[in-house]
């Protein structure tokens, strides 16, 4: 037997790298998977809130009000939307998700007074009925795009990119393209479907402005129009979205999830949510548009603490996608044999692309979908949202805020130099903000 003390692993070629090289050699194609980045990157976990002290006055936990409502679309839309909580549900396509999951999200969001978002497959009637406030995405693929759905939406989101793959188009592998999904997308059943990575009828910010104008003309200037970008050159993208006439900007950091994308895209393109929020807020402030054009942040938001920190950095609301799926049961330790059949295990699964989701969230298989009755999914999601709101209010009250949007960067410090530099808040116990002072 080999003496384990004689074994020396390579930092350049650790087991997972060796495995990937050999998988590539065997298959001759990049790895496609779901979920978001798995690498460790600076995040909201690297920030801490500063509770009240002698100089700050806290609010009583259950007695004093801490408002969570937010208006989106106050710049141009005749009918801005009011959210009772600043946590929205991100765009996830019907196709990537099954109809049970979409209905679950809609019911929960409606109960909690927030919005859900369509995705790269068009709007379904079930989704419209389940969601009191529904945001309709206009994506490069334009699958299922039609003016009736534009008009029955409550807000419209022009998607330029997403955090999991800025610069890349969507993917939906053939095993998930059943008859209904194929019909909605005007594509043959069973093909590996690749969405376009850029819009077919506009390029650049000047064209985007005209596109937004067209959508407003078609919808009578009623709906708030968001522009969603994957976090890369966030400062410029935010400024250009404002210039193009957006009512709201959605910035999706690299922790944002996907149902199917090349692993190399997920792990190597884009910037983390943490610096993206700061850059977006600075761009809005420079244009005197902060709080006038609302900023919605997504990508790795999991708890009320994440929400509080994003709002404290200047966001108006957040959006959750992967966390919502987890609330519905994604990666739950049940149906172990089905995880095993996919070559994975609970806690590690990123096999959304296969359509064989063991918990019935990212599947079109009716048998698997039965594992997620919409009523149950709705309750799980509602409970999760409710918990996040309670956590958010707990932190806001501790900082003495009667409205969660009163949280501010001064309510936070950073645990690491990297996070301090990215968020531009002081390193804990110092007054040092890297790149700003005292260096």
């Amino acid at each position: 037997m080999t003496d384990p003390r004689a074994l020396r692993g390579s930092a350049t070629f650790p087991p997972e790298v060796i495995r990937e090289i050999q998988r590539a050699a065997d298959q001759g194609v990049y790895e496609i998977r779901g979920f978001g980045t798995k690498r460790k990157i600076p995040s909201f976990d690297d920030l801490l809130m500063l509770g009240a002290s002698v100089s700050r006055y806290p609010l009583e936990g259950y007695r004093e009000a801490c408002d969570t409502s937010v208006m989106i679309g106050t710049r141009f839309a005749k009918k801005p939307i009011e959210l009772k909580i600043p946590i929205t549900v991100a765009g996830m396509s019907f196709g990537a998700l099954g109809s049970h999951a979409k209905r679950s999200l809609g019911w929960a969001a409606t109960e909690m007074g927030t919005s859900t978002t369509t995705g790269d497959g068009g709007m379904t009637d079930e989704e419209r009925e389940a969601s009191k406030t529904l945001v309709y995405q206009v994506l490069p693929s334009r699958y299922g795009m039609n003016p009736d759905d534009l008009r029955r939406a409550d807000a419209i989101e022009v998607v330029v990119g997403q955090g999991a793959k800025p610069g890349g188009g969507g993917m939906l592998l053939g095993q998930k393209i059943n008859e209904r999904v194929a019909k909605m997308r005007d594509l043959p059943q069973g093909i590996d479907q690749r969405s376009a990575s850029r819009h077919p009828d506009w390029t650049g910010p000047d064209d985007l402005e005209i596109k937004i104008h067209e959508i407003r003309e078609i919808t009578g200037w009623e709906k708030p129009i968001y522009v969603k970008v994957g976090a890369t050159r966030t400062r410029f993208d935010t400024a250009l979205a404002v210039k193009a006439g957006a009512d709201a900007v959605v910035v999706d950091g690299m922790q944002g999830g996907t149902a199917a994308t090349q692993d190399v895209f997920i792990e190597h393109v884009g910037i983390p949510t943490l610096p993206a929020v700061r850059q977006a807020v600075e761009a809005l402030q420079e244009l005197d548009m902060h709080r006038k054009v609302q900023l919605i942040v997504s990508g790795g938001i999991r708890s009320g603490a994440d929400v509080a920190k994003a709002l404290a950095m200047g966001a108006d609301a957040v959006s959750i996608g992967s966390a919502a799926m987890v609330a519905l049961g994604c990666n739950k330790p049940v149906y172990h044999e089905d995880y095993e059949a996919l070559g994975t295990a609970p806690g590690f699964c990123h096999h959304c692309h296969t359509g064989r989701c063991p918990v019935g969230v990212t599947t079109q298989d009716p048998e698997l979908e039965k594992r997620l009755p919409p009523e149950k999914g709705g309750r799980l999601m509602r409970n999760y949202l409710q918990t996040m709101v309670l956590e958010l209010q707990t932190l806001a009250r501790a900082c003495g805020k009667s409205h969660v949007l009163n949280l501010e960067p001064q309510d936070m410090v950073a645990l690491t130099v990297e996070a301090a530099a990215m968020a531009q808040v002081p390193l804990a116990g110092t007054d040092w903000v890297p790149g700003k002072n005292n260096y």
């Binding site: 050699a25 077919p200 009828d201 005209i210 009578g220």
Partner: protein
């Protein structure tokens, strides 16, 4: 104002939004369904989002997205059209009497777009069921990712025609600079000549269907290719 049976809108004086409010209010069965828009002067999104059977004549040149997302209306543009004319149209007819800029008929899901002159690049990009008939030539990357419908080109086609094509069918009478990825020439069988004959008749463009060649997808990009060398 009503002139020669048309209700006339003058975009020199009227806001586009108020013109659209009137046009969008037209319902199936309304008596007043003939409109004329004058002095468009390159404005964008003219006659966008029309939603009922009506005739709209636009005298002059239009900017981006004229007739965008049209449903059921017949729109005639007596001039040149900017990018994205008839984008995502669902049904009805749009006729451009002059030339059209890039991305004409982009993502169109139904109806017919007729361009009597030339169309620029990416004509019929991502088309999803629309029929497009171009009296002249089309620019590069036309019918890129075309999913359904027909693109008929009576003149020539630029390079990379039908790149990444799905199930849209392309007919070209003249030369093709080059075909895009996965686009191949296909046999022109009698049923295709009949289809083309019908399209030309609907469009009012005069051409002999027998002079056209047909292009479609080789369907080699429909599924990711995996080698599995280790299984050998």
């Amino acid at each position: 104002m009503k002139t020669n049976g048309y209700i006339e809108f003058d975009l020199d004086g009227e806001e586009l939004s108020s013109v659209h409010a009137r046009l969008h209010s037209v319902k199936q069965g309304d008596n007043e369904r003939s409109f004329r828009i004058v002095n468009p002067r390159g404005k964008h999104a003219v006659a966008a989002g029309l939603n009922a059977p009506m005739d709209v004549r636009i005298d002059g040149h239009v900017g981006f997205y004229c007739g965008g997302m049209n449903k059921e209306a017949d729109i005639t543009i007596n001039g040149q059209a900017g990018p994205g004319v008839g984008e995502n149209m669902m049904s009805g007819l749009i006729r451009v009497c002059g030339n059209a800029s890039q991305s004409a008929g982009a993502t169109g899901r139904g109806g017919m777009l007729v361009i009597e002159g030339d169309a620029s690049s990416r004509c019929g990009i991502s088309m999803k069921g629309i029929d497009i008939v171009v009296g002249g030539s089309v620019g590069h990357m036309s019918c890129f990712m075309g999913q359904r419908g027909h693109l008929v080109v009576c003149g020539d086609a630029g390079h990379d025609l039908g790149d990444s094509l799905y199930e849209a069918q392309i007919f070209v009478r003249g030369s093709v600079d080059s075909l895009g990825a996965d686009c191949v020439e296909k046999e022109m069988r009698p049923e295709h000549i009949e289809t083309l004959k019908g399209l030309l008749a609907r469009s009012g463009v005069n051409a002999d269907p027998k002079e056209f060649r047909r292009y479609g997808s080789a369907r080699k990009l429909y599924n990711f290719h995996i080698d599995n060398a280790d299984a050998l």
